[in-house]
């Protein structure tokens, strides 16, 4: 301490000494006197500081508990136990040291397949959206950046920006960018912007919170992993003891299931009803029913469609359209799509202590009807009115902290669209596509997870053994997960 002060003092003197050289003798004497005075002052101050430091150290050495006095003087104690300066400063509610909260989720994976994943097709269910298989070998997966904050007392905002590498190009998307009201009366809330639709159970889950390394088959086939779009979402929560939420959305219809060229700006709507409850402390459940209607015009579909011409029209459009470099023209759908989803989740944890042991059973059934016309690669336009359905059922068990084991079975089936589609990718195979998946994962904390997954994939003509390794790490702010 003293050295530092002296050091500063000498610097100060040096700086002062340069002009001082030019001063007459008497002024130098004056300066000397001043210097002496200053030195005396400083030494007095330093001595004082040292004295105070000693006192502070002695106080600190006595445990803090001394603020609570010895038994028998409790009345005095109660008054002596005074709040410290942290009082009154809210320590909540998720708001961290920064505004906004920023969280990053890093994912990476390694996959091994029997067959080339680039050629992956499910006959009868052309894949769109992000539904293609992860690349073989080591790959980065996606880095997801979440930024959120309350805008003011009436609005909150959320932004999700995944960054991923797709065929050698780094792509930045806006996956979610929405504002939500905080202060609407009567149990209402309104969300606006781009968001993952509220339909179904899995649709609004971010990939990092999936229980398996890939999305369930019906979501892959019917929604391109999940349906997100630009629009409005209104939710109403009933003031009842039993949870009952009704929701409706008006959406642009620009993203798969929607998509294409001619939408008038409102190409889709959805309705959702959801209820749930507890059975004792150990069990809780949730069930929902949703309907999504999309009006599609020349929606490109499947690996044969070409993305580029649409990407120009819709800035920020997804990279749905899959493989490039095929010779055929785009396979396009125009017409009405209706999608029903029934979802059910049952969670069990002894006495609700989630961290020790838990079991989750989850199932969803999706039914899609598409009524319209397909523009075939050879430019024929063929009528299409086909029902397709898919379901999955999965169970994940955590027998002790850190480790989870899960099984999933998912399956698709489709009407026969007619002989006209016989040679196309729209013709389903003779057997229903299905998969058996097994996973185990290990989480050191809520912020880290390593996963091994095996899938026996019977969706194409040839069975595929798929092995995947995955990591998911979360840094920064991490929002609470929904049920």
């Amino acid at each position: 301490m003293r050295t530092i002060l002296l050091c500063f003092l000498s610097l100060y003197l040096l700086a002062g000494a340069i002009p001082a050289l030019a001063e007459p003798e008497s002024e130098i004497d004056l300066l000397r006197a001043e210097l002496k005075q200053m030195r005396a002052d400083y030494e007095a101050r330093i001595a004082d500081l040292e004295r105070r430091l000693d006192t502070a150290e002695q106080t600190a050495a006595v445990p803090q508990t001394t603020t609570v006095q010895a038994p028998g003087t409790a009345t005095a104690t109660a008054d002596a136990y005074q709040p410290a300066p942290s009082i009154g400063q809210p320590a909540m509610t998720g708001g961290g040291a920064f505004n906004p909260d920023i969280g990053v989720i890093l994912q990476g994976m390694a996959w091994s397949y029997d067959h080339d994943p680039e050629e992956y097709q499910i006959p009868g269910f052309p894949l769109s959206g992000h539904a293609e298989l992860a690349p073989e070998g080591l790959s980065l997966g996606e880095a997801e950046i979440n930024i959120s904050a309350n805008v003011d007392d009436k609005f909150t905002a959320w932004l999700t920006v995944p960054i991923h590498v797709h065929e050698g190009d780094t792509e930045v998307e806006i996956e979610e960018a929405w504002i939500e009201t905080l202060a609407l009366p009567a149990g209402l809330s309104l969300r606006m912007g781009r968001f993952m639709s509220n339909i179904g159970y899995l649709n609004s889950k971010h990939p990092h919170s999936w229980d398996f390394a890939d999305q369930a088959l019906p979501y892959q086939a019917f929604l391109g992993t999940h349906y997100l779009d630009d629009g409005l979402q209104l939710r109403w929560l009933a003031p009842t003891d039993t949870y009952l939420e009704l929701g409706g959305e008006l959406l642009r219809g620009d993203h798969y299931l929607g998509g294409g060229e001619g939408d008038s700006g409102v190409g889709a709507y959805s309705l959702t009803a959801r209820t749930g409850g507890d059975v004792g402390f150990d069990h809780s459940w949730q069930a929902g029913l949703s309907y999504l209607h999309v009006d599609a015009e020349n929606r490109p579909l499947g690996g044969h469609a070409h993305a580029d011409e649409h990407e120009e029209d819709h800035d920020g459009d997804e990279d749905h359209e899959g493989d490039e470099g095929h010779e055929d023209g785009p396979l396009m759908f125009g017409g009405d799509t209706g999608l029903w989803i029934a979802d059910f989740v049952w969670k069990w944890a002894p006495n609700g202590n989630w961290k020790q042991r838990n079991f989750v059973f989850q199932a969803e059934y999706l039914l899609r009807n598409e009524d319209g016309f397909y523009t075939m690669p050879d430019a024929d336009v063929l009528p299409w009115d086909v029902n397709q359905s898919g379901w999955y059922v999965q169970a994940v068990y955590q027998p002790f902290p850190r480790w989870r084991f899960g099984m999933r079975y998912d399956r698709l089936s489709s009407d026969n669209p007619g002989a006209a589609f016989a040679d196309s990718i729209l013709m389903p195979g003779s057997d229903d596509p299905q998969r058996y998946s097994f996973m185990t994962d290990w989480s050191n904390s809520e912020f880290s997870r390593l996963r091994l997954q095996y899938t026996l994939d019977k969706t194409s003509h040839e069975d595929d053994n798929q092995w995947g390794l995955q990591y998911i790490f979360s840094i920064g702010a991490h929002g609470a997960h929904s049920f």
Partner: protein
């Protein structure tokens, strides 16, 4: 006739006035406190039960429905409920209990928080940068929060403000007397050395003058590992000494029993909240029981 009328009136009036306010507490101790202050005027429920770890519950549909109906929410705060409460508040669509509305009360912001690190480096475990949230294990904190609860109840339900103030005065008097009794009984515990499963007890330790010498969790929020436990075993079967290994009822007893068997240090389960043991039936008996258990383990 008149008497009968008044008699009936007095029987009916309390019924109509009863339970006008719905209070949702995140933890049972705040539900108990709201009952002490609010009496028959409030209907309380708790999002977690006494045997649950309040860090880790699910944002269940039933709780969203409760948030929707609540007039006042009381939570420990300091990020204890960060894994589920923000989701409940967001989905609950109830602006009168969404911070900064007066219908949301964060208990830990009314006491002097310990272990305020400001740090967010998670290699130190799942730290709460705004301090340790388990403030209820020091009765002086309960007294401070009681003031805040009474004030908020009076604010949310202005008609009965005087009622709440009176009940607060009554509670404070009984509580202050109880504190002096506890401190007298707990005098022999001063300076005892404690191994804690999780850092749930810093306020208790601070109050009673216990010294926490280790935790079974290698870092907060990460379950005890074999490596860490064997390190502890080497420490405490050697020269180092400790008096208790304490855990909350919802923390797995395997680790503390394992260490206890090998070192002879008594393993003690302490209720972390009201209802956490058979004896801890209300706020007063909660502290009675903590001290009973420590004293009897001490032998």
């Amino acid at each position: 006739m008149k008497t009968t009328f008044f008699c009936i009136l007095f029987m009916v009036l309390p019924l109509t006035a009863q339970a006008s306010l719905e209070v949702l507490a995140c933890e049972p101790e705040w539900a108990a406190l709201a009952e002490e202050i609010g009496g028959d005027m409030v209907k309380t429920s708790s999002a977690t039960n006494p045997l649950q770890d309040p860090h880790y519950i699910q944002a269940r549909p039933s709780l969203i429905a409760k948030v929707r109906r609540a007039d006042l929410i009381i939570c420990s705060g300091a990020q204890l409920e960060i894994g589920w409460l923000p989701m409940l508040l967001q989905r609950g669509n109830n602006p009168s209990v969404t911070p900064p509305a007066p219908g949301f009360l964060e208990a830990s912001s009314f006491v002097s928080r310990l272990d305020v690190t400001g740090l967010t480096d998670r290699s130190q475990g799942d730290m709460h940068p705004q301090g340790n949230p388990h403030v209820q294990t020091n009765p002086h904190n309960i007294r401070l929060v009681a003031n805040a609860v009474a004030e908020r109840l009076a604010q949310v339900d202005a008609e009965n403000a005087e009622f709440y103030r009176q009940r607060l005065a009554d509670f404070t008097q009984r509580w202050t007397e109880a504190i002096s009794g506890w401190e007298e009984r707990a005098a022999p515990l001063r300076g005892k050395r404690v191994i804690a499963h999780h850092k749930s007890w810093v306020y208790l330790e601070d109050w009673l003058g216990l010294e926490e010498v280790a935790t079974l969790e290698p870092v907060p929020g990460v379950p005890p590992t074999a490596t860490h436990l064997s390190t502890l075993l080497r420490r405490f079967e050697g020269d180092e000494h400790a008096d208790f290994i304490i855990r909350a009822p919802f923390q797995n007893d395997k680790s503390s029993n394992w260490l206890s068997e090998r070192t002879g240090i008594p393993a003690v389960m302490l209720p972390l909240t009201v209802g956490g043991s058979d004896q801890a039936t209300d706020l007063f008996r909660f502290f009675d029981d903590i001290i009973d258990r420590l004293l009897s383990a001490q032998g």
